[in-house]
Symmetry: C2
Subunit: 198 residues, 2 copies
Protein backbone atom coordinates (compact mmCIF):
# COMPACT_ATOMS: atom_id res chain seq x y z
CA UNK A 1 0.00 0.00 0.00
CA UNK A 2 2.91 2.33 0.70
CA UNK A 3 3.95 1.98 -2.90
CA UNK A 4 0.76 3.69 -3.99
CA UNK A 5 1.90 6.95 -2.41
CA UNK A 6 5.25 7.04 -4.20
CA UNK A 7 5.31 9.89 -6.73
CA UNK A 8 6.59 9.30 -10.22
CA UNK A 9 7.30 11.55 -13.14
CA UNK A 10 6.55 9.13 -15.97
CA UNK A 11 3.48 7.08 -16.82
CA UNK A 12 5.54 3.89 -17.25
CA UNK A 13 6.92 4.33 -13.75
CA UNK A 14 3.40 4.81 -12.45
CA UNK A 15 2.32 1.62 -14.22
CA UNK A 16 5.27 -0.24 -12.69
CA UNK A 17 4.42 1.08 -9.24
CA UNK A 18 0.78 0.06 -9.60
CA UNK A 19 1.83 -3.32 -10.95
CA UNK A 20 4.13 -3.82 -7.95
CA UNK A 21 1.37 -2.79 -5.58
CA UNK A 22 -0.99 -5.26 -7.25
CA UNK A 23 1.52 -8.09 -6.87
CA UNK A 24 2.02 -7.22 -3.21
CA UNK A 25 -1.73 -7.01 -2.68
CA UNK A 26 -2.25 -10.42 -4.28
CA UNK A 27 0.55 -11.84 -2.16
CA UNK A 28 -1.06 -10.62 1.06
CA UNK A 29 -4.49 -11.72 -0.13
CA UNK A 30 -3.23 -15.22 -0.83
CA UNK A 31 -1.14 -15.81 2.25
CA UNK A 32 -2.30 -13.63 5.10
CA UNK A 33 -5.90 -14.44 5.81
CA UNK A 34 -7.71 -13.09 2.79
CA UNK A 35 -11.32 -14.29 2.67
CA UNK A 36 -11.03 -16.15 -0.64
CA UNK A 37 -7.38 -17.18 -1.11
CA UNK A 38 -7.78 -19.66 -3.97
CA UNK A 39 -4.39 -18.84 -5.48
CA UNK A 40 -1.21 -19.37 -3.55
CA UNK A 41 -2.76 -21.49 -0.79
CA UNK A 42 0.09 -22.65 1.47
CA UNK A 43 0.49 -26.44 1.48
CA UNK A 44 0.67 -26.56 5.30
CA UNK A 45 -1.53 -24.32 7.46
CA UNK A 46 -2.15 -24.02 11.19
CA UNK A 47 -5.82 -24.87 11.79
CA UNK A 48 -5.90 -22.70 14.91
CA UNK A 49 -5.07 -19.65 12.79
CA UNK A 50 -7.84 -20.14 10.21
CA UNK A 51 -10.79 -17.74 10.18
CA UNK A 52 -13.86 -18.88 12.09
CA UNK A 53 -17.35 -17.43 12.35
CA UNK A 54 -20.82 -18.39 13.55
CA UNK A 55 -22.50 -17.10 10.36
CA UNK A 56 -25.46 -15.88 12.37
CA UNK A 57 -26.04 -19.17 14.21
CA UNK A 58 -25.61 -18.74 17.98
CA UNK A 59 -23.44 -21.45 19.52
CA UNK A 60 -21.71 -22.42 16.26
CA UNK A 61 -18.08 -21.97 15.31
CA UNK A 62 -17.44 -22.91 11.68
CA UNK A 63 -14.04 -23.13 10.04
CA UNK A 64 -13.44 -24.26 6.45
CA UNK A 65 -10.22 -26.28 6.61
CA UNK A 66 -10.14 -27.06 2.89
CA UNK A 67 -12.89 -25.60 0.76
CA UNK A 68 -14.11 -25.30 -2.78
CA UNK A 69 -14.94 -21.63 -3.23
CA UNK A 70 -12.46 -20.69 -0.50
CA UNK A 71 -9.42 -22.75 -1.51
CA UNK A 72 -10.13 -24.23 -4.92
CA UNK A 73 -10.84 -27.83 -3.88
CA UNK A 74 -12.74 -29.64 -6.64
CA UNK A 75 -13.89 -32.91 -5.10
CA UNK A 76 -13.84 -32.79 -1.31
CA UNK A 77 -14.34 -30.14 1.35
CA UNK A 78 -13.48 -30.30 5.04
CA UNK A 79 -14.87 -28.24 7.90
CA UNK A 80 -14.20 -28.07 11.61
CA UNK A 81 -17.32 -27.13 13.54
CA UNK A 82 -17.85 -26.60 17.25
CA UNK A 83 -21.36 -26.58 18.75
CA UNK A 84 -21.97 -25.11 22.20
CA UNK A 85 -24.33 -27.14 24.44
CA UNK A 86 -27.87 -26.87 23.11
CA UNK A 87 -26.87 -25.66 19.64
CA UNK A 88 -27.61 -27.62 16.48
CA UNK A 89 -27.56 -27.70 12.71
CA UNK A 90 -30.79 -27.01 10.86
CA UNK A 91 -32.82 -30.02 9.75
CA UNK A 92 -31.45 -30.43 6.24
CA UNK A 93 -30.56 -32.76 3.39
CA UNK A 94 -28.10 -32.81 0.52
CA UNK A 95 -27.17 -35.15 -2.29
CA UNK A 96 -23.46 -35.35 -1.52
CA UNK A 97 -21.66 -37.83 0.70
CA UNK A 98 -20.99 -36.61 4.24
CA UNK A 99 -18.89 -38.14 7.01
CA UNK A 100 -18.35 -36.76 10.52
CA UNK A 101 -15.52 -37.56 12.89
CA UNK A 102 -16.32 -36.41 16.43
CA UNK A 103 -13.24 -34.91 18.04
CA UNK A 104 -14.69 -33.76 21.37
CA UNK A 105 -17.93 -33.78 23.34
CA UNK A 106 -21.17 -35.66 22.74
CA UNK A 107 -24.57 -35.11 21.22
CA UNK A 108 -27.31 -36.63 19.12
CA UNK A 109 -27.64 -37.32 15.42
CA UNK A 110 -31.21 -37.37 14.09
CA UNK A 111 -31.79 -39.07 10.73
CA UNK A 112 -35.12 -39.49 8.93
CA UNK A 113 -35.27 -42.05 6.18
CA UNK A 114 -36.81 -40.13 3.34
CA UNK A 115 -39.44 -42.53 1.99
CA UNK A 116 -42.58 -40.35 2.06
CA UNK A 117 -43.51 -36.79 1.18
CA UNK A 118 -41.81 -35.44 4.29
CA UNK A 119 -38.92 -36.63 6.47
CA UNK A 120 -41.07 -37.86 9.39
CA UNK A 121 -40.00 -38.71 12.93
CA UNK A 122 -36.23 -39.23 12.90
CA UNK A 123 -34.19 -42.02 14.43
CA UNK A 124 -31.87 -40.81 17.21
CA UNK A 125 -28.24 -41.92 17.44
CA UNK A 126 -25.99 -40.98 20.37
CA UNK A 127 -22.68 -39.54 19.11
CA UNK A 128 -19.54 -39.24 21.19
CA UNK A 129 -15.84 -38.35 21.05
CA UNK A 130 -14.02 -40.69 18.64
CA UNK A 131 -17.18 -41.77 16.86
CA UNK A 132 -17.71 -41.46 13.12
CA UNK A 133 -21.02 -40.92 11.35
CA UNK A 134 -21.94 -41.23 7.70
CA UNK A 135 -25.11 -39.56 6.46
CA UNK A 136 -27.14 -41.52 3.89
CA UNK A 137 -27.42 -39.41 0.73
CA UNK A 138 -30.55 -37.22 0.65
CA UNK A 139 -31.79 -38.31 4.08
CA UNK A 140 -32.90 -35.34 6.21
CA UNK A 141 -30.72 -35.06 9.30
CA UNK A 142 -29.68 -32.83 12.17
CA UNK A 143 -26.77 -32.82 14.61
CA UNK A 144 -27.40 -31.36 18.06
CA UNK A 145 -25.16 -30.88 21.04
CA UNK A 146 -27.28 -32.56 23.70
CA UNK A 147 -24.29 -32.83 26.06
CA UNK A 148 -22.82 -30.46 28.62
CA UNK A 149 -19.59 -29.47 26.89
CA UNK A 150 -18.63 -28.27 23.42
CA UNK A 151 -19.19 -30.76 20.62
CA UNK A 152 -16.39 -30.52 18.04
CA UNK A 153 -16.55 -32.35 14.73
CA UNK A 154 -14.63 -32.65 11.49
CA UNK A 155 -17.04 -32.78 8.57
CA UNK A 156 -16.10 -34.14 5.15
CA UNK A 157 -18.38 -33.63 2.16
CA UNK A 158 -18.06 -34.57 -1.50
CA UNK A 159 -18.99 -32.50 -4.55
CA UNK A 160 -18.41 -29.05 -3.02
CA UNK A 161 -19.62 -26.36 -2.74
CA UNK A 162 -22.49 -27.75 -0.67
CA UNK A 163 -26.08 -27.30 -1.77
CA UNK A 164 -28.38 -27.59 1.25
CA UNK A 165 -32.16 -27.98 1.47
CA UNK A 166 -33.44 -26.91 4.90
CA UNK A 167 -36.66 -27.83 6.75
CA UNK A 168 -38.52 -25.98 9.51
CA UNK A 169 -39.52 -29.31 11.10
CA UNK A 170 -39.54 -33.05 10.40
CA UNK A 171 -43.02 -32.93 8.90
CA UNK A 172 -42.44 -30.19 6.35
CA UNK A 173 -42.96 -31.57 2.80
CA UNK A 174 -39.78 -32.17 0.80
CA UNK A 175 -41.20 -29.90 -1.87
CA UNK A 176 -41.31 -27.01 0.61
CA UNK A 177 -37.69 -27.43 1.76
CA UNK A 178 -35.66 -24.35 0.93
CA UNK A 179 -32.47 -24.47 -1.10
CA UNK A 180 -29.73 -22.40 0.53
CA UNK A 181 -26.99 -21.85 -2.03
CA UNK A 182 -24.39 -20.62 -1.69
CA UNK A 183 -24.33 -21.75 1.93
CA UNK A 184 -23.53 -19.17 4.61
CA UNK A 185 -19.77 -19.73 4.72
CA UNK A 186 -19.50 -19.75 0.94
CA UNK A 187 -21.49 -16.58 0.33
CA UNK A 188 -18.57 -14.20 0.52
CA UNK A 189 -16.45 -16.06 -2.01
CA UNK A 190 -18.73 -18.01 -4.33
CA UNK A 191 -18.15 -17.32 -7.99
CA UNK A 192 -21.09 -16.43 -10.17
CA UNK A 193 -20.00 -19.13 -12.62
CA UNK A 194 -20.43 -21.85 -10.03
CA UNK A 195 -24.13 -21.16 -9.65
CA UNK A 196 -24.67 -22.98 -12.93
CA UNK A 197 -23.39 -26.24 -11.48
CA UNK A 198 -26.48 -26.99 -9.38
Amino acid sequence: MILLSVSSSSSSSIAAVFSGALILFNFFEATLGAPCPINGLPIVRNVSELPQDNYGRPGLSHMTIAGSVLHGMKEVEIWMQTFAPGSETPIHRHSCEEVFVVLKGSGTLYVAETHGNFPGKPIEFPIFANSTLHIPINDAHQVKNTGHEDLQVLVIISRPPIKVFTYDDWFMPHTAARLKFPYFWDEQCVQESQKDEL
Copy 2:
Protein backbone atom coordinates in the same frame (compact mmCIF):
# COMPACT_ATOMS: atom_id res chain seq x y z
CA MET B 1 -23.84 -70.90 13.78
CA ILE B 2 -25.77 -73.00 16.29
CA LEU B 3 -28.59 -73.26 13.79
CA LEU B 4 -26.33 -75.25 11.49
CA SER B 5 -26.26 -78.14 13.95
CA VAL B 6 -30.04 -78.43 14.24
CA SER B 7 -31.22 -81.68 12.67
CA SER B 8 -34.20 -81.67 10.37
CA SER B 9 -36.24 -84.38 8.68
CA SER B 10 -37.34 -82.48 5.57
CA SER B 11 -35.38 -80.73 2.85
CA SER B 12 -37.55 -77.60 3.11
CA SER B 13 -36.73 -77.39 6.81
CA ILE B 14 -33.06 -77.76 6.00
CA ALA B 15 -33.36 -74.96 3.45
CA ALA B 16 -35.08 -72.76 6.03
CA VAL B 17 -32.39 -73.48 8.59
CA PHE B 18 -29.62 -72.69 6.13
CA SER B 19 -31.45 -69.54 5.06
CA GLY B 20 -31.74 -68.45 8.68
CA ALA B 21 -28.08 -69.17 9.26
CA LEU B 22 -27.18 -67.13 6.19
CA ILE B 23 -29.22 -64.18 7.43
CA LEU B 24 -27.53 -64.41 10.84
CA PHE B 25 -24.12 -64.71 9.19
CA ASN B 26 -24.79 -61.64 7.03
CA PHE B 27 -25.99 -59.74 10.10
CA PHE B 28 -22.79 -60.52 11.99
CA GLU B 29 -20.69 -59.80 8.90
CA ALA B 30 -22.31 -56.39 8.50
CA THR B 31 -22.28 -55.22 12.07
CA LEU B 32 -19.60 -57.00 14.03
CA GLY B 33 -16.27 -56.27 12.40
CA ALA B 34 -16.49 -58.16 9.12
CA PRO B 35 -13.67 -57.26 6.74
CA CYS B 36 -15.90 -55.87 3.96
CA PRO B 37 -19.23 -54.77 5.50
CA ILE B 38 -20.64 -52.75 2.59
CA ASN B 39 -24.23 -53.65 3.40
CA GLY B 40 -25.78 -52.68 6.68
CA LEU B 41 -23.01 -50.29 7.72
CA PRO B 42 -24.11 -48.73 11.02
CA ILE B 43 -24.61 -44.94 10.75
CA VAL B 44 -22.59 -44.30 13.94
CA ARG B 45 -19.47 -46.31 14.76
CA ASN B 46 -16.82 -46.11 17.45
CA VAL B 47 -13.49 -45.37 15.76
CA SER B 48 -11.58 -47.09 18.55
CA GLU B 49 -13.33 -50.36 17.70
CA LEU B 50 -12.53 -50.34 13.97
CA PRO B 51 -10.02 -52.86 12.60
CA GLN B 52 -6.46 -51.60 12.24
CA ASP B 53 -3.40 -53.14 10.69
CA ASN B 54 0.09 -52.18 9.54
CA TYR B 55 -0.28 -53.98 6.19
CA GLY B 56 3.34 -55.04 6.30
CA ARG B 57 4.73 -51.57 7.01
CA PRO B 58 6.54 -51.45 10.34
CA GLY B 59 5.51 -48.46 12.46
CA LEU B 60 2.19 -47.87 10.67
CA SER B 61 -1.31 -48.27 12.03
CA HIS B 62 -3.93 -47.81 9.32
CA MET B 63 -7.68 -47.66 9.89
CA THR B 64 -10.24 -47.02 7.16
CA ILE B 65 -12.88 -44.84 8.85
CA ALA B 66 -15.11 -44.59 5.78
CA GLY B 67 -13.99 -46.45 2.69
CA SER B 68 -14.98 -47.28 -0.84
CA VAL B 69 -14.40 -51.01 -1.17
CA LEU B 70 -14.85 -51.47 2.58
CA HIS B 71 -18.01 -49.43 3.22
CA GLY B 72 -19.44 -48.47 -0.16
CA MET B 73 -18.41 -44.80 -0.21
CA LYS B 74 -18.50 -43.48 -3.77
CA GLU B 75 -16.81 -40.07 -3.65
CA VAL B 76 -14.70 -39.66 -0.52
CA GLU B 77 -12.67 -41.94 1.71
CA ILE B 78 -11.27 -41.23 5.17
CA TRP B 79 -8.41 -42.93 6.99
CA MET B 80 -6.85 -42.56 10.39
CA GLN B 81 -3.15 -43.37 10.33
CA THR B 82 -0.57 -43.41 13.10
CA PHE B 83 3.15 -43.38 12.33
CA ALA B 84 5.69 -44.39 14.97
CA PRO B 85 8.81 -42.18 15.18
CA GLY B 86 10.98 -42.78 12.12
CA SER B 87 8.23 -44.41 10.04
CA GLU B 88 6.97 -42.95 6.79
CA THR B 89 4.76 -43.35 3.75
CA PRO B 90 6.40 -44.43 0.50
CA ILE B 91 7.31 -41.69 -1.95
CA HIS B 92 4.18 -41.71 -4.08
CA ARG B 93 1.73 -39.76 -6.21
CA HIS B 94 -1.94 -40.01 -7.15
CA SER B 95 -4.40 -38.05 -9.22
CA CYS B 96 -7.03 -37.58 -6.51
CA GLU B 97 -7.34 -34.75 -4.03
CA GLU B 98 -5.83 -35.42 -0.61
CA VAL B 99 -6.04 -33.44 2.62
CA PHE B 100 -4.44 -34.29 5.96
CA VAL B 101 -5.45 -33.06 9.39
CA VAL B 102 -2.73 -33.75 11.95
CA LEU B 103 -4.28 -34.88 15.24
CA LYS B 104 -1.13 -35.63 17.26
CA GLY B 105 2.64 -35.47 17.01
CA SER B 106 4.87 -33.84 14.43
CA GLY B 107 6.80 -34.73 11.33
CA THR B 108 7.83 -33.63 7.88
CA LEU B 109 5.95 -33.47 4.58
CA TYR B 110 8.13 -33.76 1.47
CA VAL B 111 6.64 -32.56 -1.81
CA ALA B 112 8.33 -32.54 -5.23
CA GLU B 113 6.80 -30.37 -7.90
CA THR B 114 6.50 -32.74 -10.80
CA HIS B 115 7.79 -30.68 -13.71
CA GLY B 116 10.50 -32.93 -15.16
CA ASN B 117 10.93 -36.61 -15.92
CA PHE B 118 11.34 -37.47 -12.24
CA PRO B 119 10.17 -35.87 -8.98
CA GLY B 120 13.53 -34.36 -8.02
CA LYS B 121 14.63 -32.97 -4.67
CA PRO B 122 11.51 -32.30 -2.60
CA ILE B 123 10.57 -29.25 -0.59
CA GLU B 124 10.29 -29.96 3.15
CA PHE B 125 7.40 -28.69 5.26
CA PRO B 126 7.26 -29.11 9.04
CA ILE B 127 3.89 -30.57 10.08
CA PHE B 128 2.50 -30.44 13.61
CA ALA B 129 -0.58 -31.18 15.71
CA ASN B 130 -3.54 -29.14 14.48
CA SER B 131 -2.00 -28.43 11.09
CA THR B 132 -3.68 -29.26 7.80
CA LEU B 133 -1.94 -30.17 4.55
CA HIS B 134 -3.27 -30.42 1.03
CA ILE B 135 -1.31 -32.38 -1.55
CA PRO B 136 -1.19 -30.89 -5.06
CA ILE B 137 -2.65 -33.41 -7.49
CA ASN B 138 -0.04 -35.74 -9.02
CA ASP B 139 2.89 -34.24 -7.11
CA ALA B 140 5.13 -36.93 -5.60
CA HIS B 141 5.11 -36.66 -1.82
CA GLN B 142 5.98 -38.44 1.41
CA VAL B 143 4.96 -38.00 5.03
CA LYS B 144 7.51 -38.99 7.69
CA ASN B 145 7.39 -38.97 11.45
CA THR B 146 10.58 -37.02 12.16
CA GLY B 147 9.44 -36.31 15.73
CA HIS B 148 9.79 -38.25 18.97
CA GLU B 149 6.19 -39.34 19.54
CA ASP B 150 3.49 -40.96 17.44
CA LEU B 151 2.25 -38.89 14.49
CA GLN B 152 -1.50 -39.36 14.04
CA VAL B 153 -3.34 -38.00 11.01
CA LEU B 154 -6.76 -38.07 9.43
CA VAL B 155 -6.45 -38.44 5.68
CA ILE B 156 -9.21 -37.52 3.24
CA ILE B 157 -9.03 -38.55 -0.41
CA SER B 158 -11.41 -38.12 -3.32
CA ARG B 159 -12.29 -40.63 -6.04
CA PRO B 160 -11.73 -43.80 -3.99
CA PRO B 161 -10.48 -46.48 -4.09
CA ILE B 162 -7.01 -44.93 -4.23
CA LYS B 163 -4.66 -45.70 -7.10
CA VAL B 164 -1.08 -45.09 -6.01
CA PHE B 165 2.15 -44.83 -8.01
CA THR B 166 5.19 -45.46 -5.82
CA TYR B 167 8.85 -44.45 -6.27
CA ASP B 168 12.03 -45.97 -4.84
CA ASP B 169 13.61 -42.51 -4.58
CA TRP B 170 13.08 -38.90 -5.68
CA PHE B 171 15.09 -39.36 -8.86
CA MET B 172 13.27 -42.41 -10.22
CA PRO B 173 11.63 -41.56 -13.59
CA HIS B 174 7.86 -41.11 -13.48
CA THR B 175 7.60 -43.78 -16.14
CA ALA B 176 9.23 -46.31 -13.78
CA ALA B 177 6.89 -45.58 -10.87
CA ARG B 178 4.88 -48.66 -9.94
CA LEU B 179 1.09 -48.68 -9.80
CA LYS B 180 -0.14 -50.37 -6.64
CA PHE B 181 -3.83 -51.17 -7.07
CA PRO B 182 -5.74 -52.23 -5.14
CA TYR B 183 -3.77 -50.60 -2.33
CA PHE B 184 -2.78 -52.75 0.65
CA TRP B 185 -5.84 -52.01 2.80
CA ASP B 186 -8.22 -52.50 -0.13
CA GLU B 187 -6.79 -55.82 -1.31
CA GLN B 188 -8.99 -58.02 0.83
CA CYS B 189 -12.26 -56.41 -0.25
CA VAL B 190 -11.77 -54.91 -3.70
CA GLN B 191 -14.31 -56.02 -6.26
CA GLU B 192 -13.08 -57.33 -9.58
CA SER B 193 -15.44 -54.93 -11.31
CA GLN B 194 -13.75 -51.91 -9.80
CA LYS B 195 -10.47 -52.70 -11.50
CA ASP B 196 -11.96 -51.39 -14.73
CA GLU B 197 -12.32 -47.89 -13.30
CA LEU B 198 -8.63 -47.04 -13.47
